[in-house]
Symmetry: C4
Subunit: 231 residues, 4 copies
């Protein structure tokens, strides 16, 4: 079932390696079929180079395995919470990429310092609060999803397709699995350049709002004029 989605989720997981976003097995991508409400996700702790499409695990939104012989990624409950709250996304990527994770560890959001950031994230990349001891001890991965959703109560998850979980690492999402991996890559590059810029000037102010808006709208929304016309 969902063979095409499995292929796409496999491919998106392999992009994690190609883009240099993962070490060992520290990352996972999932995709959702909104019609059947089924999620396809990477199996836990399996080598990216040995995985086949058939190893992808199909789960329902209540976390039950519908198809697959392997255990799903241990971060599955986080993915599910996000799919339930963010109705228009089709893919989610979690990685421990070097620079985005460095910001997450520092519990610091990534300010928008330039147009590279503005082209993809319509504002600073937010950081969640640290989970409480109770939230960690019981249903940790599900609660990780909940603090992300809490952080986005006043934010537009389509305009800002990613977050830093405090003390942990980034989650990004997108219209499909490939898109969520690309946003993970963008976040990593943006984090690295923000770190460098802060080293040049620790008091650096953020990009003026009017430039942020202009760049975001060049690429997104009804008046976008970047790229080729979609057929």
């Amino acid at each position: 079932m969902l063979e095409e989605l499995k292929e796409r989720v496999l491919k998106a997981n392999q992009y994690l390696v190609e883009y240099g976003l993962v070490t060992l097995t520290w990352g996972n991508v999932s995709g959702i079929d909104r019609k059947s409400e089924l999620v396809v996700i990477k199996p836990s702790g399996v080598d990216y180079n040995l995985m086949k499409a058939a190893d992808m695990v199909v789960v329902s939104l209540d976390g039950k395995i519908v198809e697959g012989k392997l255990r799903p990624s241990s971060d599955l409950p986080t993915h599910i919470e996000l799919y339930k709250a963010f109705k228009e996304i089709g893919g989610i990527t979690h990685s421990h990429s070097e620079n985005a994770t460095s910001f997450a560890q520092a519990c610091a959001e990534i300010p928008c310092f330039g147009t590279t950031h503005a082209d993809h994230f319509n504002g600073p990349v937010p950081v969640t609060r640290v989970l409480t001891e109770a939230e960690v001890n019981e249903n940790y991965e599900l609660n990780t999803g909940k603090v992300i959703i809490e952080r986005f109560k006043e934010l537009d998850y389509l305009g800002i397709p990613g977050v830093l979980v405090a003390g942990h690492a980034p989650f990004t999402w997108g219209k499909d699995p490939e898109d969520s991996v690309k946003n993970n890559l963008v976040l990593e590059r943006v984090a690295k350049m923000a770190l460098n810029s802060l080293m040049l000037n620790p008091q650096l102010s953020k990009l003026p709002e009017y430039i942020l808006n202009k760049h975001y709208k060049r690429k997104h929304g009804p008046d976008a004029y970047y790229g080729q016309r979609k057929k």
Copy 2:
């Protein structure tokens, strides 16, 4: 038309990937045929590995598409302004390379700290002012070209073949498309080493003028003695 220039512009765009200067599709190279006053430029948002010479877009200096089925790079108006103002250049490269962009984001010029810099840029690499809201809202890309030209009013664009657009990223140019990409690569390396040197000594003073001049003239101008004699 201009088949040879299309091949060279394609190749120069592929160098962006080979030199590690781009992520996804964040960069573009163009070339100009000064006789016909036609510009050849990369199409917008197309994968570097899938592009063919025939995908390059030919445009006139008033921005009209003369040949090509795809939309030109959205930065085309910036390229055109530069070709009109800097009469002796034959190629332009725009990238979001990591370290040069970090300086651009910090709105900081790159001082000349060493001979690697002096070999290619005859002075600090300048940074433009931030565009005003009006300049951003109307004809943004054209105005990006204008602030670059404004910044070079007192500078020699042949001696300093590149600039940092504040809050954005670098543009470099050269006698042809390949040359403009090489200057982009040099700028990236020079930016990285300047960042490192500033971390070792935030109060670092610039290279004495007499060494800057010596190195620049070793490689450029009538008394150059670096490299092989041109035939």
Copy 3:
């Protein structure tokens, strides 16, 4: 003798190169056969690409060469001390990987700032004291082992499978040679991200204990639920 272990030790040494943990010949991996109490180790100063399994040196726990035509790694006495003190380990890796070594040179332990760290090291990665002049002049490599063991008097070497030797570089260990190399890679990544996080916030506090414990236990111990069930 021990042909299979030789193959594994060879392979683990080659992972050092594949993972980018070594320059020239600056690293070595060994493995132990606990039944025969024999250690298999890389020969000293030999190119990783030219080594064959037959070049691995077999030594007893009193340091005598049992089989092999080449000299063992000069760090052999350190490995032996560790095998004698840490009874449950099966492999040891020593490298001069860039970021872990930078912490070792700064005589600074690596605090646990995030879950990437917590997934593999159940607490800060400790740094040894600097060896005394007497310890350096006589039996230097053996004494290197002794200060590591001294540092672990109150620590659990299974929970924290690595150490920074002050002014020198990291040693890591694991249940077998491959596992010790993986821990070396993890330490390198964790060190890089800790360095970045400290640059973002030099006063950064460590991850709360309850998150550290949760992540460590997700991957290790009787209630681990990361990865696939072992057969």
Copy 4:
């Protein structure tokens, strides 16, 4: 003539690329045949991938071209001065490698912070003084050699096989061309780790002398016990 040395010099220049020490054509390696007092050096500004052994230029110690159709590297006079002053070296490498050059630009020597450094450089890697205007304007490259030699008046060039030229970049040497490239690579790695260590602790003190001496002697001199016995 000197066909074997040409092959070795070619190969050593190609190592510059393989080791990631050069961008474009920013580096050169030479070797000397002490019997005939002839130097073999890379031609100036030629692509490393297109060079052949026959392109290497043979020059005498008074700087005359003895064989070769191409211009020698513009740094030739520096190489010659070093060969004349440092009688026991057989190869010289000049690069603009990222981290060593960053120290050179900061006019900062590289303190010995760890055993990676001590294994190869028997003390801090020194930095020359800045050349005077007169020294730059007349015989610049020859004077670059002279300030290096001046800096080593009280230093042992065999124990410390490299230097940073202030505001410029590193020169390293060795018993043959390959050895000089390896020392360039070591210097680059050591520079990077020193920079990192200084970021962790700007007041970091250097490695105790007794550890420096121990490590240097483990690898060099009559009592060396690192590596395999020479035949």
